[in-house]
Amino acid sequence: MSLDLFFQYLFAGITYGAIYAVVAIGFNIIYNATGIINFAQGEFVMLGGMISISLLQFMPLGYAVAAAVLITMVIGGLIEIVFIRWLESPSVLRMIIITIGISILLRESALHIWGESIRSLPYFYGNEISTFSLGSVHISPQVLWVLVACSVMVVGLNVFFKGTPLGREMRACAANRTAALLCGINTRNMVTLSFMLSAGIGALAGCVMSPITYTQYDSGSALAIKGFTVAILGGLGNSMAAVTAGILLGIIEAFSVSVVPLAFQDAIAITILLIILFVKPHGLFGSSEAARLKDF
């Protein structure tokens, strides 16, 4: 393999990986606050894309993205308030199934609202064929946007969870709900907040990736599966690990193309992932001690 080709695969892998990572981060926020995986996360990504595309007719791109993120946050919050808030200590399996149901409902509503055709936001910078050249390797500016969004999210979330009182309250709520309640933290509000936050992050992800991947009513579930995979591979609850794992999975997928037919790409990538999981049952960067503290 020539060096050029090597780098071309590498950057392809980074493109895939950035998309997976940006979806995976959203999974981690709700997991951190509640200990559950929200299977509707992929639908937040789709909603972000769809809403911003619809709004684009009325306002410039920046405002459309911001408004889409806000609207999706409101939807995320409403979903939590309507479906989850009033449940008394629901089991994790019940929560998984409720979120699966929500994801189905959101997807089907999107089909009946926006139809089945594909849409996309325009490229934030340049157009479909403009690229940055690094030597003989080309990379689309939108990929850089996704990477920037990814880094901003990771840094922002780290600061939020470690540095702000609200973030610390959310973490306390995740670590031990009863103890957090006794410390005077309104745990219910924390859960609502985590849904809003992850919906917003999902929507932002949906906007920045829309020019690359396009948005369709059912693009959420495929992304959710990949994002879930990556969140697990990294070790649940750790955003930095999710990014690393995402890019790792992307690179595995890209390089697998050079040896096996593309049609088997997913099968190969997931097989490697399962093997990793068997060797390290709590993900690449997760620790078994931390996992034991969670109820599920």
């Binding site: 392809a12 055709s117 594909i118 479909e128 064929i129 396009y214 997928e253």
Partner: protein
């Protein structure tokens, strides 16, 4: 005591009256239903309105609905109204099988249009044959009508004609080595097989052949792999999913400017819009619908194409695509056959097979007992994308 028998009598009478009332009450609507049904001819439709093939099934269901509504508004066929029963298979063959049986045995439809995908069509082929009901498939694969089954027809143009068109253009451009990329749906599978089979006849070598996931979000790794083979002079992409716009983008992004050929699955302006600047110069075969304005007025299809485009776009506020045309043709054929054969499956089958010079969106159909597609290679024109619009390809 004398009151008792009287009372009892009245009670008995009451019950009797009640029963009689009930019986009449039950019978009346039944009679009414029967009377009303005398003038109703049922036509079944199986489309993938939701699910992974919804970009096919959606426009197909809408087009069929539109036609039936129009026919009924104009007084039906020979005084009978058509009742179109659309079943959403979500692209899964087990549902298509269940619906086909249901439509044939239970609804007693006179004909079925659809399914949308070739896998589903193959799965219900035998059922239509056993149930002696016409099936006009809207899926592309040639195996649906080859070998010919007496009750199974299809409206989309043959893959082999599309491949032939592409290869002829390649010969003109002196291209001898190509790469083939296809989506992992039924459309891509059939096209890829056809390309690989026919390439040697045109002296063309398929140097690489790959299948990608129909939900693929980025194909730059595939493009890198194909580009690394310096002998490849052109790429043919055969699919019906959004990924065909992605591959165009990825090729141009790495600065790989070999000609890109697409299949007739590209015949939806949405894909050209999605690929934007990267769509420029894509060459693909397609029915005349997309370039109807540049057809001469003498073209036998022109009036029909304009009519379909105008009606569809006025009603659904979206651009008409070749996909909806598949169902538009199918339901029009059924309507024409009902006009001749009435509500009789056998006669309708014979009438469909007897259609000649039947103008449709896909081309001019002429069925024979040996040919249940009825289109020739002239049903395809070569198109290209210029300034974000489809235009007739004039060569370079």
């Amino acid at each position: 005591m004398s009151f008792v028998p009287y009372d009892g009598g009245s009670m008995k009478k009451g019950i009797k009256r009640c029963l009689r009332g009930c019986a009449v009450g039950c019978l009346l609507p039944m009679l009414w239903v029967q009377a009303a049904q005398a003038g109703i001819i049922k036509v079944g439709a199986i489309f993938a309105v939701t699910g992974p093939a919804s970009f096919l099934g959606g426009p197909e269901a809408r087009s069929a609905e539109m036609v039936v509504e129009k026919i009924n508004k104009a007084g039906g066929i020979n005084g009978d109204t058509i009742k179109l029963i659309i079943k959403d298979s979500a692209g899964s063959s087990e549902k298509a099988v269940s619906f086909a049986k249901q439509l044939i045995e239970e609804e007693k439809v006179v004909a079925i249009i659809g399914p949308s995908t070739s896998g589903e069509s193959m799965a219900v082929k035998k059922i239509a044959e056993a149930g002696k009901t016409v099936l006009i498939s809207c899926a592309a694969a040639e195996v649906i009508v080859d070998p010919v089954a007496s009750y199974v027809f299809k409206t989309p143009q043959k893959d082999s004609f599309a491949a032939q068109k592409i290869f002829e253009e390649m010969q003109r451009l002196k291209i001898t080595t190509i790469a083939v990329a296809a989506g992992n749906d039924g459309f891509g599978k059939a096209g890829k097989a056809q390309l690989e089979k026919m390439a040697p006849d045109f002296g063309i070598k398929v140097a690489a052949s790959e299948t990608y996931d129909s939900k693929a979000t980025d194909l730059s790794a595939l493009v890198a792999k194909l580009k690394s083979d310096g002998s490849i002079q052109a790429v043919v992409n055969w699919s019906i999913v959004p990924a065909q716009a992605i591959i165009a983008k990825n090729m141009r992004q790495v600065g790989w400017n070999v000609p890109l050929f697409q299949s007739h699955g590209f015949g939806n302006i949405k894909y050209a819009e999605a690929a934007g600047a990267a769509a420029e110069g894509i060459i693909f075969p397609c029915g005349q619908l997309l370039v109807v304005d540049s057809l001469p007025d003498t073209d036998p299809q022109k009036a029909l194409l304009l009519q379909y485009k105008a009606e569809y776009e006025a009603r659904y506020k979206e651009e008409a695509s070749a996909f909806g045309g598949y169902a538009y043709d199918a339901i029009n054929m059924v309507a024409a056959a009902i006009k001749q054969g009435g509500n009789d499956r056998e006669k309708v089958r014979d009438a469909v097979e007897g259609l000649t010079q039947f103008p449709g969106v896909g081309g001019i159909f002429s069925f024979t007992p040996q040919d249940h597609n009825g289109l020739d290679i002239n049903s395809f024109a070569m198109l290209t994308v210029k300034d974000g619009k489809f235009i007739l390809y004039q060569g370079q």
